[in-house]
Symmetry: C3
Subunit: 319 residues, 3 copies
């Protein structure tokens, strides 16, 4: 049986991907995230709505950065957090993923945050767990990174307001990027006016025509008159392969510089999911410049993850 991430009352029970969530559901997440900020000083407040609950971080791909954001979000909600270093123990004993998951579930863990290099593992886990256990996808293969898509949507709304009048450009390795896939899903659902993708031919997705995006093969065209420019990280694997020539050549053709940014709207914002390769996909003076909201994205990521966790928990409690 394939588990769905929304129950019959429209409540979130897992977060596996952004495809399939309605505009209302996404806006509810963004509004809930907004409620975690103290309006006086912009700090993130502690709300003990997960007191007595346990959240386990199950990262099969190491990522201190992303793991930390989920850990912080869970702790701000007063959950007990378990960081499971899967690489070094369970796997070396030859236990299967399913046995590991069922064993951890038997420990009455309420929520698993899962990152895995293979597509579909979070969905597989959601299919296996019982009704008390929630799965949060923290990135699977090149398929989905839903909390990243949500925090990007939050950040765009915060800085630009309504989505209907916006032109948003995503630049770089779209093909292998779970971040791009989730961004495209959420921004189309939220109804941006124009969604553009741009990158080297061999890094554009094969199914670009199905994605409801405008494809550009030239950075200047892609950036022209955009309200939002999202630069993607060039992964080390891509640099080590033949898919990109040299980092200098990549920067010359696809790097966002101050000059190129001038082609966008004067008040355009620049985003990046981090960690950045300065001088490869983005110039340092742009990354640190007045139009960059890259660090604000990180802050918003904490609140968005708190929102997802608290909505899932309240959906489960009332479900």
């Amino acid at each position: 049986m394939t588990a769905t991430q929304v129950n019959e009352h429209g409540q979130l029970t897992h977060l596996l991907q952004l495809e399939g969530l309605s505009k209302a559901q996404i806006l509810q997440i963004l509004d809930t995230a907004a409620s975690f900020f103290n309006p006086q000083d912009g700090s993130i407040v502690k709300k003990p709505v997960l007191r007595g609950r346990t959240v386990a971080n199950l990262f099969f791909e190491p990522s201190t950065r992303t793991r930390s954001t989920f850990e912080l979000a869970a702790k701000k909600l007063d959950a007990d957090v378990l960081n499971l270093d899967i690489g070094t123990s369970a796997t070396t004993k030859g236990e299967s993923l399913l046995d590991t998951l069922q064993t951890l579930q038997a420990m009455h863990i309420d929520m698993f945050v899962i990152r895995h290099k293979e597509n579909g593992i979070p969905q597989y886990c959601a299919d296996q767990v019982g009704p008390r256990t929630a799965i949060l996808n923290a990135g699977d293969g090149n398929r989905a990174h839903p909390t990243q898509g949500l925090l990007d949507a939050y950040s765009i709304r915060k800085h630009k307001g309504d989505f209907e009048n916006l032109t948003v450009t995503i630049v770089g390795d779209i093909r292998f990027s779970r971040v791009a896939r989730s961004q495209i899903a959420v921004l189309n659902t939220l109804g941006v006016k124009e969604l553009r993708i741009a990158g080297p031919d061999n890094l554009l997705p094969e199914n670009a025509d199905d994605l409801d995006v405008v494809v550009h093969r030239n950075l200047d065209d892609a950036v022209r008159d955009a309200d939002v420019v999202i630069m993607l990280r060039v992964q080390k694997e891509r640099m080590d392969s033949d898919l990109i020539p040299t980092t200098d050549a990549y920067f010359a053709e696809w790097g966002l510089t101050k000059e190129r940014l001038k082609l966008a709207k004067p008040d355009a914002i620049v985003m990046h999911p981090g960690p950045m390769n300065r001088g490869i996909e983005i110039a340092s003076d742009v990354a640190d410049g007045p139009q960059s909201i890259i660090l604000d994205q990180v802050t918003n990521g904490i609140a968005v993850r708190m929102a997802v966790m608290s909505l899932i928990m309240s959906g489960r409690n009332s479900g």
Copy 2:
């Protein structure tokens, strides 16, 4: 001076082994464990009886699984938990175990959960620490794994009621198994009618005659009319040595299959301490079958560890 795990008032002050605990003391632990379950929904409740206390996991042998159960138990009691990665730091600086222990004790840690590959290390630590500090044995060498024995007793009582009428069979590598040793101790103290052990000749304990068990050299005989069948994990070390032939041959002779399980009582339960080697000591359809309570053992393990921790702490406070 050899530290004892029970003080002059009969209260638990450490948990080093199950040998020497009285039936009343063991039943008190099981009853306390039962009190941590919410009778309405079977969830494990949070009780802040260790608020302000610190529990340190000191695992000299890595085990994400067992460490997690102790960490969860401590957090459910609201203790502060410290996971000490001993392999990578203190030891590389050449500090002795005793200096490490004394230094950590000086940090006013209330309870150490210790796993070590050498027999007797938890006892040694209990001998060294002062009256404020408790030692919990999370497995030493092939000597004892007392919380595993307790959670197995809890699970048997939950599913089978009184112990006096039960025939319990333990199968596999008894000789090198700390789990088996603790199971034998607790089940004999609790007074099971018949306790059987079975396994290849070279994996039976040398002192089998002293153990108050019936030894079987054939799986069919061992399982026949049993109420409880406990399969032990075949350790990788054993597979790599000459002690077992091939995993296929082991399964043919000692693996628990559906057919063999039919020899046991119709309502017999199947247990395993985990992690399982499916197709080596147990067939997958038995592991996942209706008679298996393997995942329930994991759940009970959390409550049993909470019980041990809270009893030790209340014994120390009143001592």
Copy 3:
């Protein structure tokens, strides 16, 4: 802009080094530390003054021991604690220290505890972070280890009372020791009568003349009539280099034995920052003897770190 660790109201906002702190500021830290001990039983009390705050341990040099003391201190103050294993993740993705720091700061972490093998990294971080974020130096290169200096001062005051009449001797590898540097700073500020340093010629600091210390090149002379004898750890790097001959020869000339300790005042105390090399810089019977307060130093270290964290947080809140 160079950040200062004390604001215009004289309140601590970072802790980078002990040089520059006034006697009154240091005594305030020691008095605050004392307030965290329960006068009845000497236990360290839990005070939730950092509830809702987040402390991140950012250890670029591994140290389970020191990291644990900061983690415990933060948890005793009810902070959420994040242990960031920098070696394995962010750095392998090629992110710069500054980007890592800014990203973590964007997660609204209130306090960073930083250890780094290079001098000046905590100061650099303090220069970069915004007014909401505090930096605690947990040891940088051979430059400073301020919480160690403070806990040593606390321990000396506890056992010896006023500083004005004390002769304190520091022995060993002064040259490469951040511990010694912080001890010298704090003890001179607190006004000890005589501060002596002693060690092999090539392990004495080049700027000894500027340090306001009496230099001894002979252990007997250095220890004679001292009230406090502080032995430093011989680092493994020094043993592997030509800077010390053999460990036996080192012990013969610079190891603190019972006989040599007799040259000090009869009620002299012996200290060591840990972890000890028994039989190299200190004899086992001295380390464990009645004049040793080595384990009490560890205990005091928890309270001193709690004091620093709580003072910084209250300074920031009122600042």
